[in-house]
Each structure stands twice: as structure tokens, then as C-alpha cells.
Symmetry: C2
Subunit: 132 residues, 2 copies
DNA sequence: CTGGATCCTCCCGGATACTG
DNA sequence: CAGTATCCGGGAGGATCCAG
């Protein structure tokens, strides 16, 4: 057991059985956490859901997502792009035109997220039933 | 369009089409966020994965989960219990004995989380391939 | 053994103003 | 139109000590 670079980017105590060939920890909790980190933050989910299958421009997204600032939209889009969820196409024109869309991998994430939402709803309905 | 109590517990601008019969916002991003909130925080995921199908005592969990403090274990377990993911059985003995396990709903969450982890791994392998 | 109470630190994200 | 730069407050969570 030694401290190692975990797949989720943090230091994680890991033994041989929990490591891959690069000595990265691959414990379920860490791979899941690493996936969750990609959609972490206040605005990633709204961005992903608003984009859906569409292609949208920066200000179009900003209008659709109530309350988001330019700065948060910029940084969130950049992080989503870096991890491969969002595709960014910049047309070098004046005035600037930049289009955003989900990558195939981003699209393949959405059914999993919907499962998660469905699971949460089911759990809540059970709680409501218990509480009357 | 008016501000309403969202299903995820926050105030959310919502129109009629996005509301249920109780005027709760049911936008996908909000139901998903509500589900994610249940497993939010640094320790919920380690707890869920460590528990798995087992029944474990407080200090047993504390030993298994490297780095967690009593306080974080207590509060995380309590939140997981309140939302119906964890079942808590307290035997009124001296010294105290408390056992924790996943509820059926908690167990039904794990395959979804594994899907999420698998999705993240796939995405990372694609990135590695691109970067060489 | 199973927690509770307090204090403290770090960083996410909001507000505002500015730019190619 | 599509961003950047800077400042700042609040809350999550760690450390430490205490309790039934």
C-alpha cells in the first residue's frame, strides 16, 4: 500500500490489486469521482442539457441559461471542451462567431445522467409516500 | 415564467411546461442535480462503494475509508440515511453498536454509478490515444 | 465505540468593469 | 460577439478537543 497518483487526479492510497499498469488507482469510487468531476460545478449540467443535440453560439447559451455570467460560461465551456464533452468551433470572423455542441462522448453521457435523474425521482416519490 | 421552488431544493426560474402538479421545476438538469446532490461531498462515494452489499459498523467503515474523520463519517452517513440511500440500525448496548448498510434504493444506484465510471474511463482512453 | 462542538482555511463562484 | 481581469464573500470540509 503506497500513495499513488489516482485516476481522478488526486493522491490516493492504493495497493497493487487496485492499480492498472500505470500504477493508477482504479477503485470504483475513484473512477466514478473522476467522471463526476468532469460535470462538477454549478453550470456544467445546465450547459450539457441546454446544448443537447444542438449547436449553439456563446450568447445563445448565455440567454438560455438563466443567471449565468460570461465568465462562468467561458470557464465551464473550456473545461467541458478540455475533457472531451464539448466541441468548440471558432469561425475567425469579425464580429467573432463561436459555435458549441456536444461531442459523441458528451451525447453518450446524457442517457446515464437521465438514469440518475430518474433514480432520484423514484427515491423522492418513495419518501413522499412514507411521509404521507 | 416565475421563480419557483425547484425539485432540487433551489429557486429556479420555471415555466408551466417545466413544472409538475406541485409547481416544482422538473427540468432534466434540475432532477439530475438533485440526484447528484444526494451523493455530493468528498466522502459519500467512498462510503457507498465501501458498503456495497455489506453491513458494517462505524469504526469498521472508518478504518476502511482512508483519511476520513469521525465527524465527516457521521455527517455523511446521516445525510445518506436521510435521503434513503443508507440504512442505520442502532443496537442500544454499552458500548454502542451501530450497523450501516445500503438500502435497496442505494443498491439500485450503484450500477448507474458504475456506468458513469465506465463512461469516464472510455473518454480518458480516447484522450490518451489522441495525445499519443 | 459512536459521535458532537468549535475554530479555521481554502477555493468556488458572484459582481463588476474592461477588450480584440 | 465572445470573451478577460480583478476583487471578494460564503460554505464545504479539515483539525482538534470533548461527551454519553
Amino acid at each position: 500500500m503506497k500513495d499513488n497518483h489516482c485516476i481522478n487526479g488526486e493522491i490516493c492510497p492504493v495497493n497493487q490489486a487496485e492499480s492498472d499498469q500505470d500504477n493508477h488507482c482504479v477503485k470504483p469510487e475513484c473512477t466514478i469521482k473522476q467522471a463526476l468531476k468532469m460535470i462538477d460545478g454549478k453550470w456544467k449540467l445546465p450547459i450539457i442539457c441546454t446544448l443537447g443535440g444542438q449547436t449553439m453560439r456563446f450568447n445563445e447559451l448565455k440567454r438560455e441559461i438563466a443567471g449565468i455570467t460570461s465568465m462562468m460560461l467561458t470557464s465551464s465551456l473550456k473545461e467541458l471542451e478540455e475533457c472531451g464533452i464539448v466541441y468548440r468551433e471558432s469561425y475567425h470572423e469579425v464580429p467573432p462567431k463561436v459555435e458549441y455542441s456536444l461531442t459523441d462522448e458528451g451525447l453518450s453521457l446524457t442517457p446515464i445522467l437521465f438514469d440518475l435523474g430518474h433514480w432520484g425521482n423514484k427515491l423522492n416519490m418513495m419518501k413522499d409516500k412514507v411521509n404521507g
